[in-house]
């Protein structure tokens, strides 16, 4: 079940269809889709890079902010209330649209941020925070959801670290930052890497947020796929883009898990 769609996508990128093969009609393999994708004057490559780039930034922000917030909670001895997870319960489409209303030129956040920047004399005209070419809107929306996921995923392993270790470190004169660097991070390395991987993949694959919060150019690759399919019925490009997604994610996944495997082996259980 899990592999069928992948197989269909890979075949489809060459212009083949499983059903036509089964029915016995001669398959016509075409590389047209690939040539188009790899052509630098076509938008696909730039879109792929933009997707990776923004996803990396969103992941980095979510992981760093999420990790530190989780550490903060653990140090304070507070628990996470379930209310905190509301962003996860809101349907993505609606969440994305709510962010749009907050970030468009008359939205609350746009008014506040542009107001502050103008007051500080840093800008003369309000800067666009959504549907913009830098992906700022996408970042706001993505981090909103991924931050919560990150905190949730870091909290338990952090909490499991015995208090004695941190107390001992403090007794030996460690500052908070040193406690984090020397006690928390090494003991939660696996969690850090695995969570980063999950969040990166999820950000790259999500389509509602970039669709609603992204700009005319550059666009996320999966938004281009969505438009290719629903507007011009251009399946070939969609399948090819899908294959590149698979390849990119496989590469990123491999890099991450290579690290993870090392850590797992080195960690004594």
């Amino acid at each position: 079940m899990v592999f069928l769609p992948i197989v269909n996508v890979v075949l489809g990128s060459f212009g083949l269809s499983i059903f036509e093969i089964l029915k016995g009609s001669s398959p016509k393999i075409t590389l047209r889709g690939y040539l188009r994708f790899l052509n630098p004057s076509e938008p696909y490559l730039q879109s792929l890079f933009f997707t990776i780039y923004i996803s990396l930034i969103a992941t980095a922000i979510s992981i760093v902010a999420g990790y530190f917030f989780a550490v903060y909670l653990v140090m304070k001895g507070w628990r996470i209330s379930m209310i905190f997870t509301i962003p996860l319960f809101t349907p993505y489409v609606v969440g994305a649209f709510m962010w749009w209303t907050l970030l468009y030129p008359r939205g609350y956040i746009s008014l506040i941020i542009n107001g502050i920047l103008k007051y500080l004399g840093l800008i003369r005209y309000p800067i666009p925070l959504v549907n913009d070419p830098y992906g700022i809107g996408i970042l706001f929306g993505e981090v909103w959801i991924r931050f919560v996921t990150a905190v949730m995923m870091f909290y338990s392993p952090l909490q499991l670290i015995s208090r004695d270790l941190t107390d001992a470190a403090r007794v030996l004169g460690a500052s908070t930052w040193q406690v984090i660097r020397r006690v928390y991070i090494p003991l939660t390395k696996y969690s850090l890497i695995a969570t980063s991987a999950i969040i990166l993949l999820a950000t790259m694959a999500g389509v509602s947020i970039p669709l609603i919060l992204g700009g005319s150019w550059p666009q996320f690759l999966n938004v281009m796929i969505y438009l290719d399919v629903t507007e011009t019925f251009n399946y070939l490009s969609a399948y090819v883009s899908g294959v590149f997604y698979l390849i990119t994610c496989a590469i990123l996944g491999y890099i991450f898990f290579r690290f993870a495997m090392k850590r797992v082996v080195m960690q004594t259980r």
Partner: protein
Amino acid sequence: MEVKRLLVVILATILLSGIYVPLSLAQPITLTKKNVYSLSWDEILKLAKREGEVIWYGFGSTYERDFFTKLCEMFTKKYGIKATYVHGHWFDTVQRLISEKEAGKKVGGIDVVLAWSKPFEMAYEKGAVWDVNLAEIIPNAKGIPFVAKYFHDMYPTNGRHLPILAWWVGFLYRKDILKYPDDVPTSFDQLLDWVKKHPGKFTYCDPNKGGSGHTFLMGLAEWFYGYDKFAFTKFDEKYAGKLFSSPGKYGMNFWQYLNELEKYMYQPGNYPQGNKATIELFEAGEVWLEPMWVSITMQEVATGRLDPSWVGMYIPKPTMPGPFDGVFIPFNAPHKAAALVFINFLLSPEVQKLIPQEIGAYPAVTEAWKLVPEKVKKQPWWPINPPYNDLVKWRNFGPLWYRHADYMFFIMKKWIDEVARK
């Protein structure tokens, strides 16, 4: 003895054939593309009543969905044939039909499909459309402008697709700040000067994210190079590339013009993503002029987002093209006769006259405009400038321009490279 038996046999045969023949005549005829042209409308109506049901797949905003559902209820009440409306998306519906055609499914579950040019073209080319000239069979189709009956966005439909309404894009402007005709560009010729005088007050929707954008660009292109370059010509990619790179007005080519326009637009380079985002900028007071669908304008006032005292609408010269959206019958519709009766109902005056007030679109049947109540016609989202304020005059005397689907998609794709990426 044998004579008696023979007589019995002969009598039985006569009697039985007496029963058999009327029975065979009473067999319901299945409507095929061969016999449909020879049946009278009454016979079709009778067949429809026997079929007893019709299923309509549509798409659109929540107002359109409510309106279409109401129409189904009206139909059920009038004919006693149960009409069901299913609100979906044209993409999925056509996907399903194409898959059914490829799988050889002879009897499907959809009788009438609301679709515009691109999905209709997809379905038609894959053989998923019932290959019958609806324009000839359906009586109420008479009132539709001739070209719209046989072409949709200049794609030849051969009557297999019949329009039931027409959406239109006009220039939405701040009636409370700008006066028509002095303060607004009454013609596309004046647009560039206007944006230079009012920088940051004009925008248009990303053409790949909303119809108001790509319809506007189509209209702009038809003005820029002349309607004759597009009117019902066959699309050729190389020719299109050459045309759009050649100078049109102001010594610029189309893309140069758009890039020049961009410099004076609202947040240059940042195009609102979708019709809603575009009109939201207008509602918030950020822009004063933009191309926008009449229907969406109406619906934004109805949902309380747009202040009606701000709403002014006109159509710039030479004109704006517009899509006549309509319906087709799938190849495997289970209730074809009922579908025909239903489409006829959609084109009837009682339905056509409701279209403007319920969803802010124009009826396909021109004369129905005369039946629309005056207070509806006076609403601020209808274009005020003649001949557009009188649909009958407009349709009969022009200018009535259409969009060319292939050129429009070409513009949409190229726009990303030539305008958005620069």
